[in-house]
Symmetry: C2
C-alpha cells in the first residue's frame, strides 16, 4: 500500500519492542530533550524579576544581585535533592511517583495535577513566547501569529511522535547553538566588565525608564514579589528526574550527569545575566509599551552592539524558547503513563505506540496546548503568572516524599540525604507560598482552582475504572451449564445474495432460526410468496429444520426499531437463553458508497448494542461489493 510508505516516511517505521535500548538517550541528546525548558527559562526569569523592580528606577537594578543569588542558591538545593531522588528511583522518580510512594495517594495526585498543568502551560507559553518575540522583530508576520504557533506545535508533536531519539537529534543543534551564543555573549560581557573595573561602557546604551513619584527604597513585599517572579527561571528543572528511564545504561548515572550539566549551564546564565544587568545598569522596560525590548536583547546589544552577533544570539534565544515546549512533550506522556498504570487515567495512556512513545499522552498534550494557543490567539503573556505554582508545588511534594523515603530506608548516609531533601522541601515549600501569595491576584488563583479540579477528575476516573474492573473480574473457569444453541434471528427485507448468505450461515450455527420481515401498512410482506421455494424446500432437502417466518407490521415505516423491539421481546420470553441477531451487511469499497446505500446494518448493530443486554449477541455477516 503506497499510503503506508508515505505514512512511514512522516512518522517513521514502527519500532520493535526489542529495539527499545537504541531509543535511549545519552547526555548529548538528553540535554535538548529534558533541558531545553529549564535552560530557556533564563530568557524570561531574570526579566520577570527585573520587571517588578521598574518602580525603583535605576537604583532598583542593584537588587537583581541578591535576588538572583537567592534563586541560584535555591537551584543548588533543588539540584542536590533531585540528584538523590534519581539515585533512589532509577526507574523514574518524577514528583508523582515519589510523592505517591512515600506520602500517599492524594499528595501523589496533587503533584501529578500540578505537573500536568505546568507542562500544558509550558508547552503553550514556550511556543507563544518564542513566536511573540519573532513577530515583534518581524512585524509583517504579526497577522500569522496563531498560524506560526500552531505550525511549531505541529512540528514538535510530529518530532515527538517519531520517538524520543528523533526529538533529541532534531533539537540538538538549536539547543547547543543557543547555549554557546548566549554563554559566549555573557562571557564576553563579563570579561569586558572586569577589564573596565566593573563599569563597562555599553556599545548600545540601554534605554532608561524615568520614574516619577516612584518608591525610593525597596520594601520586603516588592522584593518578595520580584523573587517569586524570578523563580520562573527554575521551571523545567524536575524534567530529568521524571524521565530517568529514557537514559542509557547506567540510567541513573547518565540522568544525574545530564542534570548536572543542565543546572550548571543554567546557573552560569543566571549569574552572568544578573551581573551584567547590574554592571551595565540594565532596567526592564514595561512590556506592551512602545519601544519595548527584552532584557536579554538590551544586554546582548550593550555587550556586542547590534551587529550580526546580536542577531544570531537573539535568534537562537527565540528558537530555544519556541522549542522549550519539547521538554513538556518528553515528560507529560511519561507522567500520564505512570498515572494510568495506577488507574487514575484511562488505560490507553499506558500503551507505547509504534515508535515506543506514549502516543496518547503526546496527543493529549498537543490538543490541550493547541486549545490554549487558539483560545488566547497565540498571545499567552497572561498565562505566565499561572505556571510557577505548579512547578514549585511539585518540587515541594517530591522533596517531602524523599524525606519520608529516607525515614523508611535508613542506612549509611541516609541522615545526610534526608537533611538535603528536607532543606529542599523547606526552601521550595516556602517559595511555593511566596509565589502563591505574590501572584494570587495576577492569576495564580486559577491554578489554585485547576489543580484540585484535575485531582478530582482523576479520582473520578479511578472510581469508574475500578468499578468496571471489579465488575468484570473473575478467576472462575468457564461455566457451560447445558450446551444449548442460541436462538438465531435473521432480518430479511429483500431476498438477495447478502441475505441468502446470512441465512445459510445462521442455519449452520443453530437448529432454531427465525426470519423476521418488517413491512409497512400499505405494502404486503415481500417474502411471503416465495418463502416456500426459496427457504422451505432447500432446508428440507438438507435435512435441516425449516426456519420460522415472522412478519412485523410497521405502522410508522420504521424498520430498525421493530426488529430491535422484536429481538428484545424474544429475549425476554426466553429468559436467560442466548439470542443471536444476524445482521447481513453489504460492504462497499469506496468512501462515497457510504452515501449511496442505506446504512441500516450499521444502525441495527448500534441500536441492538445500545438497547440490548448480555444475552443478545450480534452476528455481522458481510457481503462485499467488489468492483
Amino acid at each position: 500500500m503506497r499510503w503506508m510508505n508515505a505514512y512511514n516516511l512522516i512518522f517513521g517505521k514502527p519500532l520493535a519492542t526489542t529495539s527499545e535500548q537504541s531509543e535511549r538517550l545519552g547526555i548529548g541528546a538528553g540535554i535538548p530533550v529534558f533541558g531545553l525548558d529549564a535552560l530557556s527559562s533564563a530568557a524570561y526569569g531574570p526579566e520577570a524579576a527585573l520587571t517588578l523592580l521598574i518602580p525603583l528606577g535605576a537604583a532598583g537594578v542593584a537588587y537583581i544581585l541578591p535576588i538572583s543569588l537567592s534563586i541560584i542558591v535555591l537551584l543548588a538545593i533543588v539540584f542536590f535533592s533531585y540528584r538523590q531522588t534519581i539515585a533512589a528511583y532509577p526507574s523514574g522518580g518524577g514528583s508523582y511517583i515519589v510523592a505517591s510512594a512515600n506520602l500517599g495517594v492524594y499528595p501523589g495526585l496533587l503533584a501529578a495535577s500540578a505537573l500536568m498543568i505546568d507542562y500544558v502551560l509550558t508547552a503553550a507559553v514556550g511556543i507563544s513566547a518564542g513566536v511573540g518575540a519573532l513577530v515583534s522583530a518581524v512585524p509583517r508576520l504579526l497577522p500569522h501569529t496563531v498560524g506560526i504557533c500552531m505550525g511549531i506545535l505541529a512540528l514538535i508533536t510530529l518530532v515527538n511522535l517519531r520517538g524520543l531519539r528523533s526529538a533529541g537529534i532534531a533539537f540538538m543543534a538549536p539547543t547547543y547553538l543557543f547555549v554557546l551564543t548566549l554563554l559566549g555573549a555573557l562571557g564576553w560581557g563579563v570579561v569586558k566588565a572586569l577589564f573596565a573595573g566593573g563599569h563597562p561602557v555599553p556599545v548600545a546604551t540601554p534605554p532608561h525608564v524615568a520614574v516619577s513619584g516612584g518608591v525610593a527604597t525597596a520594601g520586603a513585599w516588592l522584593l518578595m514579589q520580584s523573587f517569586a517572579s524570578g523563580c520562573t527561571a527554575m521551571t523545567g528543572v524536575e524534567a530529568v528526574s521524571n524521565g530517568v528511564r529514557a537514559f542509557r545504561e547506567p540510567t541513573a548515572r547518565t540522568a544525574q550527569r545530564t542534570l548536572t550539566v543542565i543546572i550548571g549551564i543554567l546557573m552560569l546564565m543566571l549569574a552572568g545575566i544578573a551581573y551584567l544587568c547590574y554592571a551595565y545598569g540594565i532596567q526592564a522596560l514595561p512590556p506592551g509599551q512602545n519601544g519595548y525590548q527584552s532584557v536579554l536583547s538590551m544586554l546582548v546589544a550593550a555587550v556586542a552592539g547590534r551587529g550580526i552577533f546580536y542577531y544570531v544570539t537573539i535568534g537562537f534565544v527565540l528558537f530555544a524558547l519556541a522549542l522549550s515546549a519539547n521538554t513538556a512533550f518528553a515528560d507529560f506522556p511519561r507522567l500520564c503513563h505512570a498515572i494510568s498504570q495506577d488507574g487514575f487515567l484511562p488505560y490507553p495512556f499506558s500503551i507505547r505506540g509504534r515508535r515506543l512513545v506514549y502516543t496518547q499522552g503526546v496527543f493529549a498534550l498537543a490538543i490541550l496546548a493547541g486549545v490554549l494557543l487558539l483560545a488566547f490567539r497565540g498571545v499567552t503573556d497572561r498565562l505566565i503568572p499561572l505556571y510557577a505554582i505548579g512547578a514549585f508545588l511539585a518540587f515541594t511534594l517530591s522533596q517531602a516524599g524523599m524525606v519520608a523515603h529516607w525515614r523508611k530506608h535508613k542506612g549509611p548516609g541516609s541522615g545526610r540525604s534526608m537533611a538535603v531533601n528536607g532543606l529542599g522541601a523547606l526552601a521550595t515549600g516556602l517559595t511555593t507560598l511566596v509565589v502563591l501569595v505574590a501572584k494570587f491576584t495576577a492569576g495564580a488563583w486559577i491554578t489554585a482552582i485547576l489543580i484540585p479540579a484535575l485531582l478530582l477528575l482523576m479520582l473520578g476516573v479511578h472510581r469508574r475504572l475500578n468499578g468496571a474492573a471489579r465488575s468484570v473480574a473473575t478467576n472462575s473457569p468457564m461455566d457451560i451449564p447445558k450446551n444449548e444453541q442460541p436462538l438465531v434471528i435473521v432480518p430479511v427485507q429483500t431476498w438477495n445474495k447478502v441475505t441468502r448468505h446470512a441465512l445459510c450461515l445462521a442455519m449452520t450455527l443453530s437448529a432454531e432460526v427465525q426470519v423476521v420481515h418488517v413491512h409497512s401498512e400499505d405494502d404486503p410482506p415481500l417474502i411471503d410468496t416465495e418463502w416456500h421455494e426459496l427457504v422451505e424446500v432447500p432446508a428440507k432437502k438438507a435435512h435441516l429444520p425449516v426456519p420460522g417466518l415472522v412478519t412485523l407490521k410497521s405502522p410508522y415505516r420504521y424498520v430498525v426499531g421493530p426488529i430491535v423491539d422484536y429481538v428484545l421481546q424474544v429475549e425476554h420470553k426466553n429468559q436467560g437463553r442466548q439470542i443471536a441477531l444476524v445482521v447481513p451487511e453489504l460492504v462497499a469499497h469506496h468512501w462515497y458508497d457510504f452515501f449511496l446505500h442505506n446504512n441500516r446494518a450499521e444502525m441495527l448493530k448500534a441500536s441492538v448494542l445500545l438497547r440490548g443486554n448480555r444475552n443478545v449477541a450480534i452476528i455481522n455477516v458481510p457481503w462485499y461489493l467488489k468492483d
Copy 2:
C-alpha cells in the same frame, strides 16, 4: 424517556402510514405551500424588468406595459399547459416525470437537474432577499444578516420536517395577509388612477433618476433583456404540478384549482404593478446606491403614503419573500423521491420519515441552501441571474414532454391539447434562449455548467447503484451444500467475565473453536498458565471439544493487527470455509466511558469488516457494565 417527549414536541409525533390522507392539502393550505414562491416573485420580477429600463430615463417606464403584458400572456400559456399536465399525470406531473416518461432518460434528468438547482437557489435567494430588505429597513440588524438567514432556514426546515400540513398551516396567515395587503394597495391605486383620469397625484413622490447621455429610444436588445429579467416573476409556477399527490381527493381537480388561484392572483399583481408604475411614473433605482428603494416600496408609498398601511404591506412582502423558500422545501424532496425511485439518487431519498415527508430531501435542501447562504454571507443578489434558466428549461422540457404524450395518447381533444402544450413549449423554449443569451455573462453560464454537471453526477450514481443491485440480485433459493459449522476464533487478552462469556457462547456455536492471545516480546502469554484449569477442565466436563489455544507474538505491540492477520490467514488456509471471529465487547452506559476504556473491540470489528471477505463473519458478544 423524557428526551423522547421533547423530541416529539419539536418534531411532532410519528405519523402512521394510514394517516397519510389527513396530511393532504386543500386549496387553502395548498396556496402557502406551493404558491408562495410564485406569488412572492411579483416582488422582484417587475423590478428586475424596470432596472434594465433605467438608462431610458422617465420615458423607459412606458415600456413596462408591453413587457408585463408579454409576461402575463406567457404565464397564461404556461397555466393552460400545466392544467393539462396535472390532468394527464394525477399522481404527480413534475417536469422530471413528464420529460422522462415521454422524451427519455436524458431529457428527464436534464429537467431534474435544472429544477433541483432552481429549488436550491430559490430557497437561498428567497430567504436572503427577505432578510436583505429587512436589514435595509432596520440597519441595526445588519451585522446579524447571516444569523437571521440561518434562523429562518432552520425554522422553515423544522416546519417542513413536521409535515406538509404543518407547513401549510404555519405559513397560511402570512401568505394571505401578503396577498390581501398587496392586492389591496394595488386595487386602491388603480381606483385612484382611474378617478384621476390615468394621472394620479402620488402621496409620496417617487424619486426620479437623472439620465445623462442615456439612450433615447429602446433597442430590441434592451427590451429583450428587460423581458428576460422580468421572467423571474414566473419562477415557482411549476410547483403545483410537481406536488399533485399532496392534494386532497380529487387530487387532480384540487391541484388544478389551487394552480388557477395562484396564477390568477399573480396575474392580477403583475398587471396592477405594471399599470401603477406607468401611471405614477415609477422608475427603478439602481440597486446598491444610496437612497435605494424597491419599486414596490415606492409604489405603495405613492398610493398610500408612508403611514401604517405602507409599513404593514411592505412588512408582509418581506415576510412572503423570506418564506418563499417553503415552496422549494415542499417540492425538492418530492423531486428527489421521484429521481431516487428511478435509481438516479440514493435510496434514502425515497423513504418517508416519521412525519410522512421525504426527510432526506428536506435535509439535503437545507444543507445546500445553508451552504449557499453561508458562502455568500447572506447576500445572494449575484445569484438572481442564475435561476430563471433552471425554471424555464424545466418548463420547456415539461411542455415538450406533454406534446410527445399527446402524440402517443391520441383521443378526443388530444389535438387541441397538443396545440396548447406545443405553444407552451415554443414560448418557454424561446424564453429560455432569450434568458440564456441575455443573462449569459451575468452568471447564467454558471447554471449552464452546473446543470450538466449534476446530470452527470446522477448518471454516475445510477451506474454504481445499478452495478451493486445487479451484483447482489438473485432469485435462486438457499444453497446449503453441507451443514458444516464455522470455525470460530475468540481473541482473549485477559480472562474476565467478558471473555469468559464470549468463549462460552462460541462453544455452543461450533465444535471447532480457537482462542488467540496476542502478547508482546517482553511479556509472556498471560493465559498460558491457567488454561488448563479455566478452559480445558470445564470443557471436558461438559463433553465438548477443548478449544485450541494460539499465542501470537507481536514485536510492535499491536494487538488488533495480528488478530486480523491471523483470521485472514486461517480463512485462506481453509478455502471457502466460513470463519466467525468472536469480538467480546464491554459496553458502557455513559458517553464519557468511551474515553475511559480502550475501544479495541470497535477497532477490531471495523478492521475485520474493512479487510475481510464474505467468509469472515463477526460475532459481537456484548457485556454490559451496569452502574
